[in-house]
Amino acid sequence: MTAEPQSDQPSGIPPPIGVLPDPGIPDPPWRRLAPGMLLVEPVRELIRFIPMLIVLIFAGRVGDTGPPWGLVATGAVIALGISRYATTRYRISDALVEVRRGVFQRRHLTVPRDRIRTVDVSAHPLQRLLKLVKVEIGTGTSHHGSEAVALDGLPASAAGQLRAELLHRAAATGDATPRATSDESAEETVLARLDRRWIGFAPATLSGVITGAVLISLAWRIAGEARIRPSEIGVVAQLLRSLRSSPLWLDVLLVAGVVMLAVTILSVAGYVLSFWGYTLTRHARGTLQVTRGLLTTRATSIEERRLRGVDRFEPLLLRWFGGARLNAIATGLRHRGSENGSAVLVPPAPVAIVTAVEDAVLGNTRIGAAALIPHGPAARRRRYSRALGVTAVLIAVLLVLSVRVGWLVVPAWSSLLALPVAALLARDRYRGLGHALIDDHLVARSGSLARHRSVLAVSGVIGVTLRQSYFQRRAGLISLTATTSAGAQRYVVPDLPDTIALDLAERLVPQSGTIRVAVAHDAGRQHTA
């Protein structure tokens, strides 16, 4: 997406509002966003700037001289919001989607319609009130820093149809058909829908820990900038005093209880906020669609021809409660940062449901519940030697420090308790280790605290990397990485016995057969493996 100079376009003429482009006209006029955004944008900018405004208002009051900075900043923020509406124009022609925007730096974004791979429709509470939505158009570039084309503020009624038109362009070449919205619902099959009991998995995701940490750090920053000392607030001071007077074990118990309660409440709230109304549907024209969200609603569409597989994520705690979540491995979905959510196929849910959805999405009932091939005794030894070795070194350093410097004596000795924990972790890590090649799909599972079971279509594998450390060479193990243009870009099968790794490499990328030393020698070794 490059910014192009705009000399040939007359930009002063305001086009009619709220008229959909007629597909018959070759060069449609530039159109504005819905006027409701005039209200939405300033309010949202204000909300975003609340921490800064608080600081400014405090600073303005404390200083008591000079211009009223708080008022000036508020005005500037509102003006910024309005200017964003005023400067954004878009048009959708048969071949292109174009967006022009920017106050100081004018940008002109152009997307060829046949490059559109995902269309996300989302709406935050204020937009929902005004029946507006944001439409994000994804082109599947892996290029960092490239901007997604977003139309923030279309009428909700027009957006649904726009999404269908943009995504199913190939099918809708008849041009007259896409208006028939009643047909749309008939072509959809529901693959999964939120069951309220799933919310019970929320505390096991520990998502509340992160939310809590963010909230606390935010409160801390605001308090710090506004020069409020928490200990000077009456309630907090009283709490601290009562904690000081009670015995230590009670304090620990109390604090642990409060933290657990807070994490549970925050996790449940987070789950409900992001996954309320979750539905996964398959559209007959070849897209999967995920709809979810309580306040901010979001509808993500993934073209199935861009889908290269699925990734089942089972972190330790969630696994203990029999849960898992499922993400799509697809080209053109951003898997990093805040956009990660666009890949969600199933929120934390019972593993049986996740497996069923996996099978339905892949169109293959043999993969989801398939038993995987374990990696053998050498891989198991490596799990233990790594977990115990690293822990032992850390403990040794701690002990040496405590003996030589003379501090931390009690914690240093108690750190020996980490050894059995490490052993348990190693055991679980080996149990999780496995792979399989089923119906041209690579299935790879690894990890303990954050276990992933990834299914990747062999057709999506671009290259193969075989990796051996010095110790792996001695143990006859190879870590195989399948590289792909979808999802995390790499999917690793750790610590395979070397002959098996070579077989697998050849199945994934036939050309890698050339790196074998000798076929006869190999066949003999395979027999014993």
């Binding site: 671009i462 990397t465 990796r467 790499r490 890698s512």
Partner: protein, 165 residues
């Protein structure tokens, strides 16, 4: 230096022998920077690394061992091969990697010479695929070899069908 499992055939071509000196220089610069920082910390008597002389001595020992072993070991390992249907690169020393990419999946072939590379007239060739995780890097090629590699890799990639994703 235990030889790797004899299952994998090394790629056909070595890089330029000057690459040994190239890697040595590069590592030396890195180590000198670390040692300089430690000397500064010692002279200014910073508390950050405790036991200045011991830590410095330890760094020097590690640096000498690394410089003595790494370049030649890396030279022995680092090999490459371009066939009509695949690019095959072996790299690393302590940890070794075999990377294979079918020619049909090649997207770009970049050649690049850094300041140290220019000093030794060596070129780094990077073959990228549609996967952000899969670039194949051949470091330390003679300039004409690198140019030839880039030309033939691009030519064979163009001959292959598909959009390489």
């Amino acid at each position: 230096m235990t030889s790797p499992a004899p299952l994998l055939r090394p790629p056909a071509n070595r890089v330029s022998p000057r690459a040994v000196w190239y890697w040595l220089t590069r590592a030396l610069i890195g180590w000198l920077a670390v040692i300089a920082a430690q000397i500064v910390a010692w002279v200014l008597d910073w508390p950050v690394p405790p036991w200045h002389p011991q830590v410095l001595a330890f760094t020097v020992v590690i640096a000498v061992a690394h410089l003595a072993v790494m370049p030649r070991w890396r030279y022995r390992v680092h090999r490459w091969e371009l066939t009509s249907d695949a690019v095959y690169v072996r790299s690393g020393w302590w940890t070794q990697e075999w990377r294979i990419a079918p020619v049909s999946r090649i997207q770009t072939v970049d050649t690049e010479r850094g300041p140290i590379g220019r000093l030794f007239h060596l070129t780094k060739v990077t073959v990228t695929t549609a996967s952000a995780a899969g670039p194949l890097v051949i470091d330390g090629l003679d300039e004409p070899v690198a140019a030839g590699f880039a030309a033939s890799a691009t030519a064979t990639a163009q001959a292959a069908q598909g959009d390489a994703t």
